[in-house]
Amino acid sequence: MTRLSPLFRETMRSALIGGAASLLLALVGMVESFRERFIISGWFNVGQVLFLLPIWYAIYTTLRRFPDENRKDTLLAAFVGGAVGSFPLVILLLLGSVINLRAMFVNASPALYRILTFNQGVWPGTLLLILVLALLGLTAGGMLQLSQRWQRALIQGFVWLFVVGLMRDLILTVTNRWGPLAPVFRSIFASSGLTPVGGILLFLIITGLSYRRQQKGTAPKKALDPKMRWVAFAGVALIFIFLPQILGLYFSEILDNVMMYILMGLGLNIVVGYAGLLDLGYVAFFAIGAYTMGVLTSPELNANPLTYWQALPFAMLISTISGVILGLPVLKLRGDYLAIVTLGFGEIVRLLVLSDWLRPWLGGTQGIQLIAQPQIGNLVLRSQVQLYYLFLVGVAIVVFIAWRLKDSHIGRSWMALREDEDVARAMGINHVTTKLLAFATGALFSGIAGTIFAAKLTSVYPHSMNFLVSINVLALIILGGMGSIPGVFVGALVLIGAPELLREFAEYRYLVYGALLVTMMLYRPEGLWPEARRRLELHEEEEVPASDALSPSPAE
């Protein structure tokens, strides 16, 4: 056998990987589930995109690495690659026509086969599939013949088309509120996805605009002068204030959740990001805040219920104290030992509020209902829009505190402890009070989030206090960039806001969420908006053109 050129070899290899990804998407059921979710009504649906796109993407990105090959070879490689990429799916089809795969793979259904064979039966359909994928590969090769500018513009056009088509329902819930503009948006959408006319219009507009914009070239961004900075700041503040009015109730709900996680994220950021203490049971303080609010204000458990504002100081006090209580026994522990004890603390709190033993005081399984909502004058903050402002005030205060703490004496001590505990102690930092303060502050912020959570739902249940909450908060601060305050905002928007948008994917939400978490961390290990000091450290590293073996090993 003659040796294949690297171009062919690489293309076929990655096309096969792409094909395997398609196969996986087909077998987990996504292709079939989304067969009725159209991007452009009647033309093509999300399911088709899901099994075609991985192969196309694999070929496109591989070919891009060979810019110097001649046109004929590239196109041929693209064509062959597409055909090869279809093999995993072809094997599924052929195997599925002989034996019943459904005994093991529940989604290997006749409906799936029909989608993959474009409704043409096993043999003609399989050939058709190979042909379609080969031609699809060819389009990837063909794209590369265009100028960079057109390529980017086309990709943008398709991405927008996909996102807008997919998010049809969400976009409509917002635009339905926009009075005169509402019918405009309604007219480009069909009952599922976009109408053909709307879709083509959207695609042309986005592609054209994106093509034109690139013409101007990328002027280097100028740093804002201080005056403009204040204007920008005021602009951002205004946006925050009017956001729920523009976006409506459902988005207020999402924003409330995002804000709640921002509150918790800011707290955990102090514990993990500033002080370097890995806490996997952060939900405990959230639970303590919420339950204190519940116990004190619900007439179910309490003959003299307090109001929200009366109970708030108690909730804050109790969560702070619980932070210290957790902090004491773990003072000596480091790293993963700390992680497991905090995790255990979270579980203990959850089990206690769930237990039949404490049910007369904490409600047990049935939770606590009729929790008071905050009242200002005669106005009870009830709807998600009203509560948004409560969250906003809470976040504003907490951000201010966190920001001031960061460069204070105590903030520096935290960071010193994080970098090297032994050295920090040798320099005279009292590790006991410093660590306890970190735990207490973190607990306080989380407790506040818990009180608003309880008020928003007017109920608390032990099931809400699960490990997943701790994981989410931890993931969002690391994704945002450890120790970075804006990072917490970005992280919460991405990890809490995006899953709400991913509701479209319903039962595949966690699948997509998991994949997203991995990809984003691989893409930006330092976080999406890293702390300035860390960014600096990373840059230093970059300047040394070191091989892996020479770069400093991770903190141990």
């Binding site: 290997a108 480009i188 219009l201 459902y250 399984t365 739902l457 608390v460 319903a506």
Partner: protein, 405 residues
């Protein structure tokens, strides 16, 4: 920013053009106090679900959703329109219910909602859905407060086809005390609202009849080792163990109870959460003799076997994973029937569905022949057939055998 403006202006122009060619104004005027849903010709009727379809409790919601999809597949077209099903994850939690409720209530095309899976979610979602004028029928909420007149958690527009815990718990107590003749019983719940309430009702009724409760234990629904808890229960000497929990823990308890000395001959009983082929699969031979309470399926068994199950298997490749698909199937069909009753059809095919009338029609449901019995709704929304039957499992056999009453 500029780009957005251009997009918008083009869209405005396009829409004006489109609007000019559109049909003329409709003659129908909606007089319903809650408004009407307009379904244009060629557009589908939009039904939504709010069920738990991800996370640890998902089997509950997925099965219900499958039931709805079977109902839609069997129905085909409703008054000449397709039926479109979209949905939300209720997370089996209050916060999930609130999010789902907010989202669904923001979509004016939704005619009716099937959900929620869990009572905590319903308590948070229902105020929003009720305010939006929609109806919601739950296939698996069992908490009594949701349909208790005057309770703050009872909202207009809420109905359910699942059994109120009060009904099922009492039936189980009656069965144990009268049919089996046991006097000493123990209960286990898994910390879910459903199981906890059911065992509480059971314990109360059982004691009222003169029985004694020897132990009331609780387990983790995702746990695996229940031998220790069973051993400690065995020490209290019960004749009957009632664990109205779900399949995962339920089948393991069934299996492990047989291996605990002192429990070899104790009667075991679950509730409708354990009416599932997965119990046979999971408990193996130990399933022999296990009782479960459930809606009485006897009258409709033939139709269930010949029509429903084949369709279910065709669509999803597995057997149903719980009994809640039947409740959801009934809920969907009740909605279809009510829509057929109240919808106003225009000559051009446009459909108007008045919301208050739809609610009234659903509350007025009487002797509706469903998979779970003859459904008749009370004014507060309890629609399940009050007839509870007890079934007994035999090794390797599904469905179990109906033995009482």
């Amino acid at each position: 920013m500029k780009r957005l403006l251009v997009v918008l202006s083009v869209l405005v122009l396009a829409s004006i053009v489109l609007a000019a060619c559109g049909p003329k104004a409709q003659p129908y005027t909606c007089t319903d106090p809650l408004g009407c849903v307009e379904v244009k010709p060629g557009e589908p009727i939009h039904i939504a679900y709010a069920l738990v379809i991800s996370g640890a409790d998902e089997t509950l919601g997925v099965d219900s959703r499958n039931g709805i999809e079977v109902a839609i597949a069997l129905k085909g077209k409703l008054l000449g329109h397709d039926i479109k099903l979209t949905g939300e994850d209720d997370g089996c939690s209050a916060e999930g219910g609130q999010a789902a409720g907010t989202k669904l209530s923001a979509d004016p095309t939704i005619v009716a909602i099937i959900g929620t899976s869990c009572s905590s979610a319903a308590r948070a979602a229902m105020p929003l859905i009720s305010k939006a004028g929609m109806v919601m029928i739950s296939p698996s909420n069992t908490a009594p407060d949701l349909t208790e007149a005057g309770n703050p958690n009872n909202h207009p527009g809420y109905l359910r086809t699942a059994h109120n815990d009060k009904v099922q718990g009492a039936a189980a107590a009656k069965f144990a005390f009268e049919k089996l003749g046991v006097r000493k019983a123990a209960t286990i719940h898994d910390g879910s609202l459903y199981a906890e309430k059911l065992q509480a009702v059971f314990a109360e009724e059982f004691q009222k009849m003169g029985g004694t409760i020897t132990a009331q234990e609780a387990v983790d629904p995702n746990g695996t080792d229940f031998k220790s808890v069973l051993t400690s229960i065995a020490a209290t000497g019960p004749e009957f163990i009632y664990y109205p929990i779900f399949v995962k823990a339920g089948s393991l308890i069934t299996r492990q109870a047989k291996e605990v000395p002192g429990l070899e001959n104790v009667y075991l009983m679950g509730a409708d959460g354990m009416f599932s082929p997965d119990v046979v699969e999971g408990a193996g031979d130990a399933v022999e003799g296990l009782f479960v309470s459930s809606p009485d399926l006897a009258a409709f068994a033939a139709e269930y076997q010949s029509v429903f199950l084949p369709k279910y298997k065709e669509l999803f490749g597995t057997d149903p994973i719980s009994i809640f698909h039947a409740h959801a199937f009934d809920a969907a069909n009740m909605i279809f029937a009510a829509i057929e009753k109240v919808a106003v059809q225009q000559p051009d095919g446009t459909l108007y569905i008045p919301r208050q009338a739809l609610r009234d029609a659903l509350y007025a449901t009487k002797d509706f022949k469903g998979l779970t019995g003859n459904l008749t709704c009370t004014p507060t929304g309890d629609c399940a057939d009050p007839k509870i039957a007890v079934y007994q499992y035999h090794a390797g056999q599904y469905p179990p055998e109906r033995i009482w009453p």
